[in-house]
Amino acid sequence: MLATALIVFRETIEAGLIVGIVLAATRGVAGRGRWVMTGIGAGIAGACVVAAFAGSIAGFMEGMGQELFNAMILLFAVILLGWHNVWMERHGREMATELRSVGQSVSAGARPLYVLAIVIGIAVLREGAEVVLLLYGIAAGGGTRAAGMLAGGGLGLAGGAALSTALYLGLLVIPMRHLFNATAALILLVASGLAAQAAKLLIQARILPPLGQPLWDSNWLLAENSIPGQILHALIGYVARPSGLQLVFYVGTLLTIGGLMYLNRRPVAVAPARAAAE
């Protein structure tokens, strides 16, 4: 039961923390709830489909379909998160800080919320597919053991949801004028972590070389499978035994998106005005 709870908890926080960050980042934006719920719903539906076709997906590309499929959706999420951050640097600040005309306030609604909905959908799909397979396996196995394990699954799900809610509420404590930068930084780190996950899969599929494996081993300091390790894994992409390629992907994503954000940055005349715009 505990083992099941831990697996489900781990998968839930990986998706849930992303949802929490997105909700904090879109604080005060009209219609965000609908987009977030759409993303979660589509993700759960997608997870069931992926779980049902897991056998066929694994069979693609000389047996490396599973790795390629997951690496592609991860990299797609990285691109979307990067694009969102750059877009916000370009338009979000002026939108939030100036609000000179009604025309500009209308453009606030043009914020690409669907991009974030897709990212949430991807996160839920990726982590959810494994949970669906795990729970299906338990349910299909039947017996008295199954009931306890399914209860464990429920416990893990509740725990993951509680932690994600805690992160969201914690982020809301941040004053509005700093929230923009805080969530942008978190999204940047999440994107870099997802890129490193994609690198691991591309190594496993033998598409790219590991470039040193592992580069270091910090499992003694912070075990990746422990709860703090899993939280840091989901939030900033912590890996206890990273390969060189994972580091290259992580740093490369950080510098690329961070650099594009910097280049697209618009000077802000009146910083605290964002709070007033609420």
Binding site: A51, E62, K200
Partner: protein
């Protein structure tokens, strides 16, 4: 040259460039040893797989259970779903001599195994 052809040419060129870049990596795969492990009743058979050190291993994991399993090895940095009644392939190594643990993550109590490279 129409649009589709152009895309095909560019894709082919990129693939060739990629293949060239990683030719060294691919060359390792020629010195490959095959191994198989079967999942039955949430256990691995054999539970201990002996492989030569210094060779690339191509491990087939066949799941004879109806339920899905996840093959996972922290020691080898591998993680892959094995759907019920299906097989997957993992290619890894070359390994240094030593023992490497793996588990079936969905049934970690019973599904334990060891790869011994010697």
């Amino acid at each position: 040259m129409n649009h589709a052809n152009a895309i095909r040419t560019v894709t082919a060129a990129l693939l060739l460039a990629g293949a060239g870049l990683f030719a060294n990596h691919a060359a390792l795969a020629e010195d490959t040893v095959n191994a198989t492990v079967v999942i039955k009743d949430h256990k691995f058979d054999p539970a201990e797989i002996r492989v030569p050190a210094g060779k690339t291993i191509r491990l087939t994991v066949r799941n004879d259970d109806a339920t899905p399993e996840e093959f996972e090895s922290h020691d080898l940095d591998l993680e892959k779903i094995v759907p019920g009644g299906a097989s997957i392939i993992l290619v890894f190594g070359p390994l240094k001599a030593g023992s490497y643990n793996f588990v079936g993550e969905f049934n970690e109590d019973s599904a334990k195994g060891l790869i011994v490279a010697e």
